[in-house]
């Protein structure tokens, strides 16, 4: 099958949906003339005049305007260059977009996607490297997506654009230029459905974003020793595909959750609590977390590398859980 990058996949998703629906527009810093800091919106301004807006450096107006447009029936996709900048827009995303359907007693639908690049790995230091999925996923009214492959990115973004709820779409920055298989034919991926990236029998590893490929590499390696690791990518952080995860843990009896965000109050806690509630008696070992350290992301590349889980960290915990 054809191989394209995640940035290209995102570009295709936007292009295809904008072609179908003149009622979709996108806005953000550097997305038009320049085609996006990470090329995700390349060529769209030319193809869709008037529907691709380069904005001033005004994150709160970007989010407010995207929400206001969505509220009035125009589907909006807002881009934040780095998810770290979305703090400036959090009032609009959380106080306005997430809550208004409820506050308005169902009078509103809010078809808005807040796209943002996420995570560390480019030596940009603490203000350009955060993984903020939990801050959004904790909020009722939001959906939160984090794809790990070009295929998932494309299918999920198309679903997000056509969802009538506000969606926070976190794109792992270091994956933008990695290639993966993406069919030419159109497809979407339902929001809220996880994916078994590799099936296995001995232990369930739930991983997101960059941690998916690392977990797969570990699974591959351990397979050679006869250890069978199931790797699940929930893809959607909220709503979470609890069913898929619980079924897997019931099968393997072991759970390890891997994420890049700092450990404390990270998403692993939720997944472990859910599994405890629904599959306590199936567990043969304590559930484990492999997560980012509780530190801001440092500039130095060696330190930065150590700040988030490495394959060897994942491997060690998998081995430990099997003891």
């Amino acid at each position: 099958m054809r191989q394209i990058t995640m940035a290209e996949a995102i570009n295709e998703a936007l292009r295809e949906e904008m072609r179908k629906d003149p009622n979709i527009f996108i806005l953000g810093e550097e997305i038009g003339l320049r085609g996006g800091a990470f090329t995700c919106t390349k060529g769209l301004m030319e193809e869709f005049p008037g529907r691709v807006l380069d904005t001033p450096i005004s994150e709160s107006a970007i989010a407010g305007a995207a929400y206001g447009a969505a509220l009035t029936g125009t589907k909006a996709v807002a881009e934040f260059m780095f998810s770290d900048f979305s703090f400036i827009a959090m009032d609009q995303i959380i106080n306005s977009a997430a809550k208004s359907r409820y506050m308005f007693g169902g009078q509103a639908t809010i078809p808005v996607v807040f796209r943002m690049s996420s995570g560390s790995g480019r030596q940009q230091a603490a203000q350009h490297s955060q993984s903020l999925e939990v801050l959004y996923a904790h909020i009722p009214g939001l959906k939160v997506i984090m794809p790990s492959t070009p295929y998932d990115a494309k299918g999920l973004l198309k679903a997000a654009i056509n969802d009538y709820n506000p969606v926070v779409f976190l794109e792992p920055r270091v994956l933008y230029f990695k290639k993966g298989e993406v069919p030419e034919q159109e497809y979407t991926i339902p929001i809220g459905k996880g994916d078994i990236k590799r099936s296995g029998e001995d232990v369930t590893v739930v991983a997101t974003g960059v941690m998916v490929e690392r977990s797969l590499a570990v699974a591959e390696k351990l397979a050679r020793e006869g250890i069978s690791v199931e790797v699940i990518d929930p893809r959607t952080i909220r709503p979470l595909d609890t069913e898929l995860i619980v079924a897997s843990v019931k099968k393997t009896g072991r759970l390890i959750v891997v994420h890049e965000a700092p450990r404390t109050y990270g998403m692993a806690g939720e997944i472990i609590a859910l599994v405890m509630e629904q599959a306590f008696d199936y567990l043969n070992a304590p559930p484990q977390r492999v997560a980012g350290h509780d530190v801001p992301i440092p500039y130095n590349r060696n330190l930065e590398r150590l700040a988030i889980p490495l394959e060897e960290d994942i491997e060690a915990v998998v081995r430990k859980s099997l003891k």
Binding site: N23, A61, L71, D91, S96, M103, G105, Q107, I110
Partner: protein, 325 residues
Amino acid sequence: MDVTTSLSKEQLTKMYYDMWIIRNFEENLLDLYQKNLAYGGMHVSVGEEAIAVGACANLKREDTIVTSHRGHGHCIAKGADLKGMMAELLARKNGLCKGKGGSQHIVDMSVGVLGAQGIVGAGCGIAVGSALSFKIRGQKNVCVNFFGDGAANTGSFHESLNMAALYSLPVVFICENNGYAVSTSFARSTKIDKISVRAGSYGMPGVTIDGNNIFEVYKTVGEAVERARQGDGPTLIEAVTYRWYGHYVGDPCTYRPPGELERWKEKDPILFLEKYLLANKLCCQEEIDGLKAAAGKAIAEALDYALASPEPEPADLFTDVYFEK
């Protein structure tokens, strides 16, 4: 005030009636709040009615408004369902928000009321979004954004007005300068005298007007709306006014200098129009009394409706979190 001549008697009496509706609605609320039938955060706009009514008289049904925490008047002037509003304030199931939103989140999408806002300043961005919607869809409509003097000090105001001007969006920003943000007087929140000068920071026209003179409001907003509708971009209008009842229901208003309220009461916007109608023999006293009575009746009916409406059921807690196909 040559604008007056362009307004028909029908229009003028409707304005007069609408202002009474707002005042009755809100004065009833004060009472309902005392009785603990309405509750939560509630801010009334008594004394400021000319801005809501004068501004919205320029709007079509498909035009939109975004308002603030002090939004009852704007919603009513734009045509929001009175019964649904009253039921909402009483937290009833038949309320516009099914009892889930309350005063600070009143909405009526069917008439372009895009919602009150609990977050000061947030409305400016939303108005930009509504105007963007019009522009992208090629609709010749306008969004009017009402907010206070306090809101003009928020970052959202700045970013939104700059963006609106940059894209020449059809939006009219109306800053109701009532002299206070809660207990903080205007002079204690900024060093400038007039908020309208801030328009210059965005390259849009800005003007300060007497917000208690409904003719001035009607005319100034009318011109701004027309400009916006023609694609010539946004305007910032500062309408100077005063809120009679303090910031929130129950505010002791100790921060007001003595005599201030009394002076402003002399500038009652409703009385202003009433005097005009009588002096120009557009209405006789009987008609005036009839309009007042009709407004009182409409509010009484809304209240009856609201009181008859059931409370939401426990299961309603869980609906409307997400849209589901």
